[in-house]
Symmetry: C2
């Protein structure tokens, strides 16, 4: 039997997000599709998993070659549920997104979208997180298609379980992207500001997180440079936090 590849899709903007639907339509042209996403938005949930309350899921669509599930979990939970509970064969690819808002540079560490991709990669499945530098729910995805199809096909054909990508699209108002750049994560930091407001009942202050993104990297080989210059940024990613340079220094000094 010549089986179509199985592609699992998740996101962190919730199951109703236009970016998820756009990605789903594209993936249907490449294989059988299972979508597992969250009831609520899970932006900035990073790689959180749900351990204080149980997980539940329900099936929205059950067609030949296309199934959709909604859970109360985070993107990492969605992928765990998908791989170990819902699907009965190993997916050939896991894609996450398209996120409304970019996940370039240090934003990867806060991102639920990328956690979904990394959780798959940790399980030995090629994975891509897609994000667009446009928070609008009406974001124009029309230029993303060829890049999404190119990189998804590339991962499906190469079948390298360690290959995971963080792909970000710049915002373009007209015309297409200038192409893609294979690049590294730019060094950056969110210098936080907190907007203070007063609770109208108690008069006590509360705070909304409201930071400024400080790019600390002048390299032309970074995702931020690529996006600022209207290229699609493609960063190969991994999840080993070891700082090998410091490891060597500490080992030789002590």
């Amino acid at each position: 039997m010549n089986e179509r590849p199985l592609i699992l899709i998740t996101n962190d903007d919730g199951y109703q997000a236009p970016g998820l639907h756009h990605l789903t339509q594209l993936m249907k042209t490449l294989g059988d599709v299972v979508v597992i996403s969250s009831e609520q938005t899970m932006s900035a949930m990073s790689h959180a998993i749900t351990i204080k309350v149980p997980l539940v899921f329900r099936c929205l669509t059950d067609e030949v070659g296309f199934k959709e599930f909604v859970t109360n979990g985070t993107p990492a939970d969605c992928v765990k549920l998908g791989l170990h509970k819902i699907v009965n064969r190993k997916p050939s690819l896991v894609v996450s997104g398209i996120n409304h808002g970019s996940n370039s540079s240090i934003n990867i560490i806060y991102s639920g979208t990328l956690a979904g991709a990394l959780e798959a990669a940790m399980g030995g499945i090629p994975a891509i997180g897609f994000s667009i530098r446009d928070y609008s729910l009406q974001a124009d995805f029309s230029y993303t298609d060829e890049h999404i199809l190119h990189w998804s096909s590339f991962l499906l054909e190469n079948n390298k379980p360690t290959l995971a990508l963080n792909i970000n699209f710049p915002k373009v108002n007209d015309g297409a992207y200038k192409g893609h750049k294979i690049c590294r994560q730019a060094k950056a930091y969110w210098k936080e500001d907190f907007e203070e407001r007063l609770d109208p009942r108690s008069g006590k202050p509360y705070y909304w997180l409201k930071g400024d993104f400080l790019l600390q990297d002048e390299g032309h080989d970074t995702d931020e440079w690529a996006l600022n210059n209207y290229f699609v940024s493609v960063v190969p990613i991994q999840y080993d936090f070891t700082d090998f340079k410091t490891l060597e220094l500490l080992s030789s000094n002590i």
Copy 2:
């Protein structure tokens, strides 16, 4: 004025955790201390930040050289609040923990404790996450002191803003640790199992996340090996997710 160094402390087990109190007592011997932790436990919250609801905090203790705050935020939020709202001079060190349960190997990616340390490191402050391989609230911390004081002093004296460590203590029932090992993050994966139960009212299933930890690494230079052999594991950590090997391969192929 010969100012004592300022040390900021957080954790992910909540403000009442014995591990936090033990760490606080030790840090008081090294400098002025500000503790900012969460009202509730924040285990497995990873690097999540709070954006859907506002943050609030209240002061529990306000003494000369020692202040304690409790927030509704995650460990990453606690450090952001601490650095950008609560303290009025830059801390010389941020420590997180002592976590009840180890954060070695791949567990770092799920860990709120390590997110607290990494958030500080991202802001250019030396940081350490401490965890013990013992989930009990009655865990015996007595052997941790010399190692905690050694590494905290080391970071305070070296004042290297890029230095961040993930330090895990094995569980020992008697006798001390065998020493420490500077090591790398072991390759491992949680193969998830889901315990299915039925909601007594609706009869519908719900699931508790319940995985098996699969060590995929036979190296003797890893944190898992160190802990399994009763050494304290010391892993220098960083937060660049770029997979540079793959970056090179992709750049040369395309």
